[in-house]
């Protein structure tokens, strides 16, 4: 019985309740929320230290009690390396998000305590999704996490927030309900085989190994559709640009940075080990979707006029890479994908934050309303550039390592798909640099900047224009992200060491041998 995960789970929940009761006292509410998120980060460090990647145990820090014995459902928690890095990512991003949203202008009549309370509630849900080792419990968190996100978008989002919130919720709920059919299917299959049904993940992995391929394919599809909606794979992606664009910046970071990773995490934790035969048989289908997503997402990102939608489309392209690495079935590509999940959270989260900072100055989301902003806000321009470079995977930044691993690991098994996806790297350079050029380079122009300026002729003068560069809070928020971008760019080993044994275990559960390792022998 390990209490670390339970503490990680309950702490934000308590924080959420406390903050909710601080209505009308926004400053205290923010401080309390930040305090809780920092303690949570410390706890995550404790969990990281307690986890021993070399021990060989598939799940660690486990704890379990009976919940609904009639259905063999337990309240059981545990992490492998993949789940651990995701939990660490949430814990890291949460203080950043809270700091970033510190002085956000909320829609009229909404209180900051409500906003921060929902953020912390989200954190509980997300930790639960990654830490649950009972399929029923996973499903519960999977659905429960929708509720705070729905309210975050619907209450605190942009002008079209109601539509976006509804679309987000219905897409995810539909996916969840299809998955529910498969969850029940798992229960029934295990009941047929063991006499008493169970939803314990580890038991199910052994039960499903010998299940007929046709059964596996049906159940696989139920899970896959849910996860493909979450980690949006084309053609199930259309909710993300709307939700991402309308979500308040902080919620957007969590949505794209962590919440969507539930999908790719689900591929690794549920689709592959539970349905090995189906995974192998259907891998080409997934790879096609992944590659289409890379190209399609990149092309649409090039054409966006709205900066937040732009970030959302770049994410669709990145999710294509992650899915490619997962279904290429090699340890390098798998480890690369998980590292990509982390890096994407950092770089896209940072991109979202800097876009939010641009918007808070100009009051517009449209790229055409800006121009030459780097003259007024050199520091913001520089940090936008760093976020962009990280997003396009420049060598030396974090994303390069993961993208490289995915491509080099996928090549031996799937040369055709890999070659096509490299086009995505070129397009990434195009969309990132072009947006940067339009917003930050050249003479100062665009209605958003000129209208804020104090008078005619003042806009070009940084001293007299109304546009201020980053303040100390904003720099403090972005600094840890920049540090991680560089550290993981040059020295990703600590993270890879945690990930790799779990990827190896996952691949052996699927029953594939590593092409690269074989050549080495």
């Amino acid at each position: 019985m390990s209490w670390t995960l339970i503490a990680l789970l309950l702490l934000p929940l308590v924080g959420s309740l406390v903050v909710a009761f601080l209505k009308g006292n926004d400053r205290t509410a923010k401080l309390v929320a930040l305090g809780f998120s920092l303690v949570e980060l410390a706890l995550a460090v404790v969990a990281w230290v307690a986890y021993d990647p070399s021990s060989g145990a598939r799940l660690q820090l486990t704890s379990s009690v009976d919940w609904i014995p009639t259905f063999g459902v337990h309240l059981s928690f545990g992490v492998d390396g993949i789940a651990l890095v995701m939990i660490a990512l949430i814990a890291f991003l949460m203080p950043v998000v809270i700091g970033g949203a510190w002085s956000d202008k909320l829609p009229e009549g909404r209180s900051a305590s409500g906003f921060f309370s929902l953020l912390l509630a989200m954190q509980t849900g997300m930790v639960g999704v990654f830490a649950a080792t009972d399929v029923f419990l996973f499903y519960v968190f999977f659905e429960a996490v929708l509720v705070p996100m729905y309210f975050l978008i619907g209450r605190f989002g942009g002008p079209n927030r109601q539509y976006a919130a509804m679309k987000f919720f219905l897409y995810s709920l539909l996916g969840g309900l299809i998955m529910l059919a498969s969850v029940i299917g798992l229960y029934v299959t295990s009941a047929d085989k063991l006499g008493q049904g169970t939803l314990d993940w580890a038991t199910l992995v052994t039960v499903m190994k010998d299940a007929p391929t046709s059964t596996q394919i049906w159940l696989f599809l139920g899970f896959f559709i849910a996860f493909a909606i979450k980690a949006p794979l084309v053609p199930l992606h259309t909710w993300l640009p709307d939700a991402g664009a309308e979500a308040p910046v902080g919620a957007g970071v969590l949505l794209v940075g962590v919440l969507d990773k539930i999908g790719t995490f689900g591929f690794l934790r549920y689709c592959l080990p539970l349905f090995p035969a189906a995974s192998k048989q259907l891998a080409p289908l997934v790879l096609v979707l992944a590659v289409v997503g890379i190209i399609y997402g990149s092309l649409l990102a090039v054409g966006q006029t709205d900066m937040k939608r732009f970030v959302a489309y770049t994410s669709i392209a990145h999710f294509g890479f992650i899915a490619l690495g997962i279904f290429a079935f090699s340890s390098q590509a798998g480890a690369g994908s998980v590292l990509y999940m982390v890096n994407h959270g950092i770089s896209t989260g940072m991109l979202f934050l800097v876009v939010g900072m641009v918007m808070s100055r100009g009051g517009s989301r449209l790229i055409q309303d800006y121009g030459g902003m780097a003259k007024l806000t050199p520091v913001l321009g520089g940090l936008f550039f760093v976020a962009g470079l990280s997003s396009l995977a420049l060598p030396g930044t974090n994303s390069f390592v993961s993208e490289f691993l995915v491509l080099i690991g996928s090549y031996p098994n799937q040369p055709v798909f890999t070659i096509i996806s490299t086009v995505g790297m070129v397009l990434a350079a195009l969309y990132v640099l072009w947006v940067y050029q339009r917003v930050f380079q050249g003479p100062v122009r665009g209605t958003a900047l000129l209208n804020v300026a104090a008078g005619p002729g003042t806009a070009t003068d940084p001293e007299r224009s109304g546009i201020k560069d980053l303040n100390r809070r904003e720099i403090a928020v972005l600094a840890p992200l920049v540090a991680l971008v560089l550290v993981l760019g040059f020295y990703p080993k600590p993270v890879l060491d945690v990930i790799s044994p779990s990827i190896g275990a996952t691949l052996s559960e699927v029953g594939v041998t590593d092409p690269v390792a074989q050549e080495g022998k």
Partner: protein, 521 residues
């Protein structure tokens, strides 16, 4: 043989008084209640009726508790009154459910704080729209006949679920239906709508009863007996006419499905739910549903299990129709009571899936679903009765806009209840769906479950629409106010919401109890 000697030959049946004591207590109290109406002065009746009804529930509950607690010798139940009534595990579960839900409804019916004088007309004989009618709307008296009518209806429901032959069942059906027809017409406000609902319900209900009776007659022709057990025996490899059997079965089931408001026999449901006084709607939606499905379960399992191969396909189609009708037509509703009515049609489809599973899991799952759904429904209607303007209840959806701002607690409770109806985890609605669908998949009804899940997703849209209205829209300046409820309504809503939560988080005890045993016949 002398006349007296012939009388000697008629043996009175054995009566197990302790087993049927709960029914006798409710029926006896209903008779006393009628006497109250006849002999007490008008101003004393309400108080006397409330006290009597409460005592009835306590008495019936105690009698049931004593019998069920002491039931060690006849663990699986008995039949009594020469086999006309069975008191077995499902019946005890249903009786407890009915008494609990009936008690909740009575709390709503007895409440006089929300609407001064109660939700019921002061003088039912006054023509609607006249001067006298406007005068009665402001008077604080009410037709206290509603109390004996409720008790009679409840007793009818209790006999209905325990009836072990079709004649007893038919009489119980009439005993439960006739008071309901009257109660529907007793609304204090919008009396034309209320009376229209009563007439509609009565006419359609009369047809349904006729169908039931015709089916009964044909089945008697087939089996030579009205006992469920004899019909079951007759279906076992006999050379009797199948035409009689299936025509009789079809007509009988139509009568039952009508009462359960399963589509396409649901046409009365929206009108009656909308027109009836809200406490009566709650009583109908919760208790009638329990009684009707209790009857359906017993008839299908006991009498027709052997022939399920022939009729299952038909009920399969009925279940699909009900779910689709409920979910799709619910989308177009603009009145919150009509919306809940269509939601109940969709839920009836889910319940029918459990009922045609014909396994132990199907039985226990359906019973659990009934318990969970009943409590949620009572709380839902309790909340609806609180949102009012000068004309009475404000049930048009547009009037609910921005309710969260005016009354955050009420909006929060209602959101929780709607999420329960939508089947989001950590509510009883989710566990109910899970157990019913698990039973159905186990019995080979997987395609039906997929349809049900898609229907759930569609239905979620209209629940969410209400949440959107309450939270994300601005309140209208002349919008309705939320009445501060008195003790009775507060208790009903609190208990309903609390049970919804408890059964969602900790359902084991209720699941075990629902699965304690099967039908005795």
């Amino acid at each position: 043989m002398t006349f007296l000697a012939q009388v000697e030959l008629i043996k009175p049946p054995e009566i197990e008084y302790s087993a049927i004591a709960p029914v006798l207590i409710v029926l006896g109290a209903a008779c006393v209640s009628v006497l109250f109406e006849a002999f007490l002065p008008k101003h004393q009746r309400w108080a006397a009726q409330v006290v009597l009804t409460m005592l009835t529930f306590i008495g019936a509950g105690t009698a049931l508790g004593l019998y069920a607690g002491a039931e060690t010798t006849t663990a699986q139940g008995i039949t009594t009154l020469s086999g006309a009534v069975a008191v077995d595990r499902p019946v005890i579960f249903l009786w407890v459910t009915l008494l609990l839900l009936g008690f909740g409804s009575i709390l709503l019916i007895a409440d006089r704080s929300v609407e001064p004088g109660g939700a019921f007309v002061a003088d039912a004989a006054v023509r609607p729209g006249t001067v006298q009618d406007r005068a009665q709307a402001t008077r604080t008296g009410m037709q206290t006949e509603v109390f004996p009518l409720t008790l009679f209806a409840l007793a009818g429901m209790m006999v209905f679920v325990a009836a072990n032959d079709l004649l007893t069942m038919f009489i119980a059906l009439e005993v439960l239906s006739l008071p309901l027809y009257l109660m529907c017409g007793l609304a204090r406000r919008r009396r034309l709508l209320s009376q229209e609902a009563a007439v509609k319900y009565f006419l359609l209900g009369a047809f349904a009863s006729a169908f039931f009776l015709y089916g009964l007659a044909l089945l008697y022709g087939y089996a030579g007996s009205v006992k469920l057990a004899d019909i079951a025996t007759a279906t076992a490899g006999s050379d009797k006419s199948d035409t009689l059997l299936f025509a009789g079965f079809g007509l009988l089931v139509v009568g039952l499905l009508f009462k359960a408001s399963v589509g396409p026999f649901h046409a009365w449901t929206p009108d009656v739910y909308q027109g009836a006084p809200t406490p009566i709607t709650a009583f109908m939606a919760a208790c009638t549903k329990v009684a009707a499905f209790g009857g359906i379960l017993r008839v299908l399992t006991v009498a027709f299990e052997r022939t399920n191969w022939e009729w299952r396909g038909v009920l399969w189609g009925v279940a699909v129709a009900s779910m689709v009708i409920g979910a799709v037509l619910g989308l177009t509703q603009t009145d919150v009571k009509r919306m809940v009515a269509y939601s109940s049609v969709a839920h009836a489809g889910f319940l029918l899936i459990g009922s045609i599973s014909l396994t132990e899991q199907g039985l226990s799952g359906t019973l659990f679903y009934l318990l969970a759904y009943g409590f949620t429904t009572i709380a839902v209607f309790g909340v609806i009765s609180l949102v009012r303007n000068a004309d009475g209840e404000a049930t048009h959806l547009s009037q609910w806009a921005g309710l969260a701002k005016r009354s955050p607690v009420l909006a929060g409770v209602f959101t929780f209840l709607l999420l329960a109806l939508a089947g989001i985890p950590l509510t009883s609605g989710f566990v109910g769906k899970f157990v019913v669908f698990a039973a159905a998949i186990q019995d080979g009804l997987a395609p039906l479950v997929v349809v049900a899940l898609v229907a759930s997703a569609v239905a979620a849209f209209f629940y969410l629409r209400v949440i959107v209205l309450m939270y994300f829209s601005e309140p209208a300046p002349d919008g309705p106010t939320v009445t501060v409820p008195g003790a009775f309504t507060t208790i009903a809503i609190t208990v309903g919401a609390a049970v919804t939560l408890v059964l969602g988080v900790w359902p084991s005890f209720a699941l075990d109890w629902a699965g304690a045993g099967g039908f005795i016949f």
